[in-house]
Amino acid sequence: MTDAVLGDTLPHDVTTFDKGYLGDGHTLRSWLFTTDHKRIAILYAVTITIFFFIGGIAIALVRIELVTPAQDFVTADEYNRLFTLHGIVMVWFFLVPSIPTTFGNFLLPMMIGARDLAFPKLNLFSWYLTIIGGALTIYMLLAGGVDTGWTFYTPYSSIYSNSHVIAAAMAVFVAGFGTIATGVNFITTIHTMRAPGMTWFRLPLFVWAMYTVSVVIVLATPVLAMTLLLMTLERFFGVPIFNPNEGGDPLLFQHLFWFYSHPAVYIMILPAMGVVSEVIPCFARRRLFGYDFMVYALIAISVIGFFVWGHHMFVSGQSAYANLVFSFLSFIVAVPSAIKVFNWTATLYRGQITYESPMLYSFGFVGLFTIGGLTGLFLASIPIDIHATDTYFVIAHFHYVMVGGTVSAFFAALHFWWPKITGRMYPEAWARFAAILMFFGFNFTFFPQFIMGWAGMPRRYGSYPPEFQIYHVLSSAGAAVLAIAYLMPLAYLTWSLRWGRRAPDNPWRATGLEWQTSSPPPTHNFEKLPIVENEPYDYHPRGYVDQEHEAAGTAESPQKGGEQR
């Protein structure tokens, strides 16, 4: 094991950057024109990190404004622009691309034993589309922002708003095609490039998650693209499409928008589920419980997810009959999510559990996703939603699933695969501390929002009646804690790039093909293309986790782990 040897050399050597794919060139050119899926993943990672902080700063200002009931820190117009920026950036420039374009790009080919994605140039092109979309967003921001909310409801967006709606819509439009291209690439790769022996039911769940999410992306995103395009054409040329004065239906836009945006929330959660399904078996040293059911659940979520959009429109004036149907289907789509939660829990049973930070984040994910999902059921119940819709109850619901859920999973993935991606270990103690801080900061920020939401606090309000202040103060204080918790990984991960210990090839003794190549992986991923003979998650080939066998492993801390078999 050459790596283990290297691991003992000076901690200060920077040669990681000369190893594997990272050593392919250090010029800007070598990055901007690369077609290596691993390098493109890094480009994406940098991009979405920047956008995460842009969205974060916008909402930090919002939280400061909300400390007092009066509109005193920013003006009403500025406030509206801030939460809109936050929503647009966080959804389309951070969360939707987050896990697929970084970890998906980096790991998908390795997990199925391929040298690259099916269309490497298209992959780079996707990134450029994202960048063009991002540039439009920055332009929109500098030109004065947009104030429609991330939902762009007509006729406000198409006729009444005095902000840069067109730039914002086109930003999302272009970035949307970037995501579609990624989806097409993933689907093709998974269909045609699996290594010999890698049958469909041997795919790691992360790959299954990438597959189902790609299908949803490819089928849902174009509808959003068309909707925004029509809205833009109406605004720019004055052709009436949604305009009620010319007989347009004010609800048409909402139907089209949510036809995309409900599947989009699953675009945001499915990859997270994939990540957690990798991490939990690894640190529990158990085969994933109910693999088949986990696969069927992913498929069921993505299919049924297309038929529940109307639950965002219970008070919009759609028919009562439609309300009932959409409510019922929303309950049905929750069943596969429940299956997943139970399976993750059952995976722990009879394991040999350790608590490295990816595992802590995954535990956080399961708990917070359960709370977020259950409050989703509140909202799916029509009479509850009639009171709770457009209040902070909804805000709390989706931050629990998106931030508590997906962002936690994103950090789990970041720590889990960091050694593989960079060839360096991160400092475990700091990482554990950040994970715990994030969990508490998160609940501190968003739990009060459930209560004030039910108490009647409407969303998108820059000023509010004083009876809600206590909750807003709690929430803002929590957000400050959360901000620190987010800045910590930024600091120690950057630190580890230079001073972290060298990572062995398989620090977690995990199964999965990506761990069988070196850290960081060579340009074409494998010296020799692997042949797959085992089931996935083969953590205990002999049927159960053997006490003595494992006990032997304890002496060696799993991080040092270089030893494999």
Binding site: I339, T345, L374, F378, Y461
Partner: protein, 315 residues
């Protein structure tokens, strides 16, 4: 900032009922979250690395049967919750007879409210207690939403289309009124209050307001002023249909369909008469789109609804 509030005040039977459902759901959720957390924590501790707990082989059947068991279990639980909540919703569908009808016009950024006797108010809604009230709402510009937390009701207010919400308050007091659908700059200030009063107080309040014309009376004057009477009050009704008693009746259209003449139909008949032509008449009625405001349409509609026969024909 003196105290924590967990609920808005409950000012109707319906509100209390909704809170019960809410409690029920919280109860179920606490059980489920508790179950998941307890399982995770207890497995997490019991099966931590190196713990003495026994890890035998799992019997083959465990996986499948357990899996099917909890799938079916959750499915039943979910269908039950759906039914539990939907049942309440279904009782709210349908018209409330004899409701006091109040008209609401939303515009950026205020609520204009008009009572049946023509009294108008802005950003405040006075209603009598224990009387069923029905709000008929429309917007002049963008989408708004009329939100009364104390009554647990909310309904989007759309441009170009009536929507309505009904309630029967049973507790007097002053409560919040919010606009809940984002509508631009002053969305956060587009609110006010609802004042639920005893019946005598309400009457007193009404009487003290200026401009207390009967709404239908105002509509009648408009009807004459706009020239509707020229066609619709003509003897024999050969040119235009008789409007006596149309409201609530079923009208046969030229294209063979039959529609119920509700507010939306009357509104459409005034704004886009060419769309639904009454059987047996020529499409000669001009559109009054742009000539009459949403408030005036409410007046006209109120008149047509109250108008019951040629007996009171206008000289």
């Amino acid at each position: 900032m003196r105290h924590f509030i967990f609920f808005p005040p409950e000012a109707s039977e319906y509100a209390r009922h909704i809170d019960w459902i809410y409690f029920g759901l919280i109860g179920i959720s606490v059980i489920i979250v508790g179950l998941v957390v307890v399982l995770m924590v207890s497995f997490g501790i019991r099966y931590r690395r190196g713990s003495p707990a026994v890890r035998g082989r799992l019997p083959e059947w465990v996986s499948r049967d357990v899996e099917i068991g909890w799938t079916v279990g959750t499915l039943f639980a979910f269908v039950f919750i759906f039914w539990f909540a939907a049942a309440t919703f279904i009782t709210t569908i349908g018209a409330t007879p004899n409701a006091l009808e109040i008209h609401v016009v939303g515009k950026q950024w205020m609520w204009k409210i008009e009572h049946p006797n023509g009294v108008r108010e802005i950003n405040e809604l006075h209603v009598p207690v224990n009387v069923p009230v029905r709000l008929v709402m429309i917007s002049q510009d963008v989408i708004h939403s009329f939100f009364l937390p104390a009554l647990r009701i909310k309904q989007d207010v759309l441009p170009g289309r009536y929507t309505s919400e009904s309630f029967t308050a049973d507790k007097t007091g002053i409560y919040n009124l919010f606009c809940a659908e984002y509508c631009g700059t002053d969305h956060a200030r587009m609110g006010g209050r609802i004042d639920i009063m005893t019946k005598p107080d309400y009457q007193k309040w009404l009487d003290a307001q200026p401009g207390a014309h009967n709404l239908a009376e105002k509509g009648r004057q408009l009807f004459v002023r706009l020239g509707c009477a020229g066609c619709h009050f003509e003897k024999g009704h050969t040119r235009a249909p008789d409007l006596a008693g149309v409201y609530g009746s079923y009208v046969r259209l030229a294209n063979g369909r039959t529609v119920r003449a509700d507010e939306a139909y009357l509104r459409d008949s005034i704004l886009q008469p060419a769309r639904d032509i009454v059987a047996g008449y020529q499409p000669i009625m001009p559109s009054f789109k742009g000539t009459v405001s949403e408030d005036q349409i409410f007046d006209l509609v109120a008149f047509i609804k109250s108008y019951s026969g040629s007996g009171e024909a206008i000289k």
